[in-house]
Amino acid sequence: MSETVLELDGVVKEFPGVRALDGVHLQVRAGEVHCLLGQNGAGKSTLIKVLAGVHKPDAGTVTWQGSPVSFANPQAAMKAGIATIYQELDLVDHLSVAENVFLGQEPSRFGFVHRRTAASRTRTVLQRLGHPEIPVHRLVEALPSAGKQIVSMARALSHEAKLIIMDEPSAVLAHDEVANLFRIIRELTAEGIAVVYISHRLEEIREIGDRVTVLKDGRTSAVDLPARTTPTRDLVSKMTGRSIEYVFPPREGTPGEVLLQVSGLSRAQEFHDVSFTVRTGEIVGIAGLVGSGRSELLETVYGARTPESGTVSFAGRNLPAGSVAAAVRAGLGLAPEERKSQALLLAEPVYRNITLTTFGRYAHGGFTDAGREQAEASRIADALELRPRDVRRPAGTLSGGNQQKVVVGRWLLGDTRLLLLDEPTRGVDVGARAELYQVIRDLARRGVGVLLVSSEVPEVLGLADRVLVMREGRLIKQAPAGELTEDDVLDLVMAGSLSPTSS
């Protein structure tokens, strides 16, 4: 058995009003992949922020390589050999890839940043990550979200780290990227580097993990579980205190008349000549790699991007191109891909985030009705198991998964007739995920059309009635979900993208 590099004992971290960590124990060994499991809001991200020097613990001890430590700031933790990939991307949009990778530790000579060294070392790291195509001088803001994730991984790898912490790194990665990530993790652990890995996807933990520590409500509820052999039932009950049947709700009823008709929609570099329909009460899933044009397609249908050719007709009428306001008035709703930049008002209370699309409806003669808004928002919070339940807290203090529930929950209010969901379960835990599936199915039963984009093929197959497969901006297959298997879809999605340059 290899030595213990990191040990946490009785760590407590309190935020005003919330005890996020309430006596956590954790032991990580050199060369292992240590998985952290726990529901949304269990304290996983808070824990790793304590390790990374972002938060100072209120009580408890952190022992790093045999000696007790207390990191004053993230730089100190980095110097000590702890690198972190955060759940929320923390890149500086207006700096280049190389500048981001070496932010705060720029190779320098006489006080001047040595740009050539930084660039070449960045190239080496990107090469190792299997992404030599990412231009090191490109501004980070110009990269797609998967590209940003690669850059933040590159940053973590560019340090001489002994421990690398990854907080839901796979949430924004496509299927083949995850395989790539696992290859890198295996290389790291073979060198004796320890990895702390957080994910809500149990399959991943089975594949890459060695041991599991489970957090529940800020406490360690189980330690030293073998990642491969512990039954799912046990893991879930340790996390949630109950057992959850991880199944998709049954399909019922038959779809009604055509609600959305997309014909010949194109946008250069994004997608080409896409045509399909969504009927009332139908859930249509779009499978495809990140970068296959799925999100762009959704945003174009929604009017957030203007198509170069083609039409979007809704309930028999053409929607004006490029007008979100008109689409929303017609009854469309979009839960976008990036919750922080595209969906949330972080400093505003949760209830105002949930009613962002409906506060006008509850208003009387232009005067908002805060009481009604809070009541409606609380209803959604209950349905989606938002934690903490208080809807008056600023949205930015919620955990990642709970923020995601806010983004989706917004559209459950009002009378949305067609819901566009872009990665709706990103970062949402198993329990809440089951609730969310049920909620989406209930919407469909009430006649709402749903267009769902997800990187998780089982989710698309399990939830959707009909599946569209996209590859490199083209719709290459449409079929009822029952006629496809996971392998079929993966083959379709991957074919022709043997080189990992698709992002």
Partner: protein
């Protein structure tokens, strides 16, 4: 249910958000008290006379009235994520336009209408350039500043235009129950602004757009139209301010209200409005305006040169922004890595 929701919740820290602006406002009241004490030390003769003290307070408020109304508009613009550098110039333009001999011939109603229409239209033009022409607010309103001052000089021929209208001139000298009319106008404008910001869908949209314009857009809010309205509102406030200034001076000129934009922005900021948008209060802005007015008043009473006064104002602005940054950082540091 309770078993799995037992993330320990303690009594509402969200209340620290209202409390934070409360503290800030208390701080500004503290500044006012300090200014008062300094005044009392420098001129015990004046401050010993309670009639004079009450009257002086009304003078401070009266001096704050026009800039205060403008600050209400500017506060909205800043909360909505923009900036308006043209307010001083718009006051001058509206003032000059409404006091030409031709306009004056329409009487008080014509003058008020002209001032408000000119201010609102010029403001809407700002909004048009920013929302639909995609100009950066800083540049668009800077261009408007230059152009509006130029137009005002052109119209007035760089002459001071005397107002011969007794009604307009009388506004500044009228008192209702001992309170100057201009102060009442300010109070009404501030109250309306408060309601608009905190109780209406217009205010909610303003905050949403200032917090995250992309999220607001994707939620179906017409961001462009709202942006246009925000600048038009700011222009409207300038129109009202122009009437108030004309009344005080019984005249208007192209050089009037110089640097009002800086005073209004500074007042909003020391009142707690975030320059990056999404957060701010009308009450705070009003305290900011009154603090500046009180400083000016104190320097006049103490017979100190205006240069020193400007230095003190500058110092206060820096201090306020520093405090704001510290607060802001402690709030956001939790989500960002330095």
């Amino acid at each position: 249910m309770t078993a799995q929701t037992s993330v320990v919740e303690r009594g509402g820290w969200w209340r620290t958000i209202p409390t934070e602006s409360l503290w800030r406002n208390l701080g500004l009241v503290g500044v006012l008290v300090v200014l008062f004490v300094i005044g009392a030390i420098i001129r015990p003769d004046l401050y010993g006379d309670s009639d004079w003290v009450v009257n002086n307070m009304l003078v401070i408020l009266q001096q704050a009235a026009a800039i205060g109304v403008v600050t209400v508009g500017v506060t909205f613009v800043i909360i909505g994520g923009g900036i308006d550098l043209s307010v001083g110039a718009l006051i001058a333009l509206a003032g000059v336009w409404s006091t030409t001999l031709a306009t004056q011939s329409y009487g008080a109603g014509g003058m008020i209408f002209a001032a408000i229409a000119v201010g609102t239209i010029a403001g809407a033009l700002n909004g048009l350039l920013i929302a639909y022409g995609r100009l950066v607010p800083f540049i668009a309103t800077l261009a408007m500043l230059v152009a509006a001052r130029g137009l005002a000089a052109q119209i007035s021929g760089k002459q001071t235009q005397v107002s011969g209208n007794q009604f307009i001139n009388g506004i500044a000298t009228t008192r209702v129950a001992g309170i100057p009319m201009l102060v009442i106008i300010l109070a009404v404008a501030a109250a309306l602004g408060w309601v608009l910001l905190n109780r209406t869908t217009f205010g909610r949209r303003t905050v949403a757009i200032g917090s995250n314009a992309e999220a607001a857009r994707l939620a179906g809010i017409n961001v462009r139209r709202h942006t246009l309205l925000l600048y038009a509102l700011s222009g409207l406030c300038c129109g009202i301010g122009a009437i108030m200034l004309t009344s005080l001076a019984t005249s208007a000129q192209a050089a009037a209200a110089e640097l009002y934009e800086l005073d209004a922005i500074a007042a909003a900021i020391i009142g707690g409005t975030l320059l990056s948008g999404g957060r701010g209060t009308i009450v705070g802005s009003m305290f900011g305006v009154i603090v500046f007015s009180a400083i000016t008043n104190l320097f006049a009473i103490a017979n100190l040169p205006t240069e020193v006064q400007n230095m003190v104002k500058g110092g206060i602005i820096v201090l306020a922004v520093l405090i704001q940054q510290i607060r802001f950082r402690s709030l956001t540091a939790l989500f960002r890595k330095p």
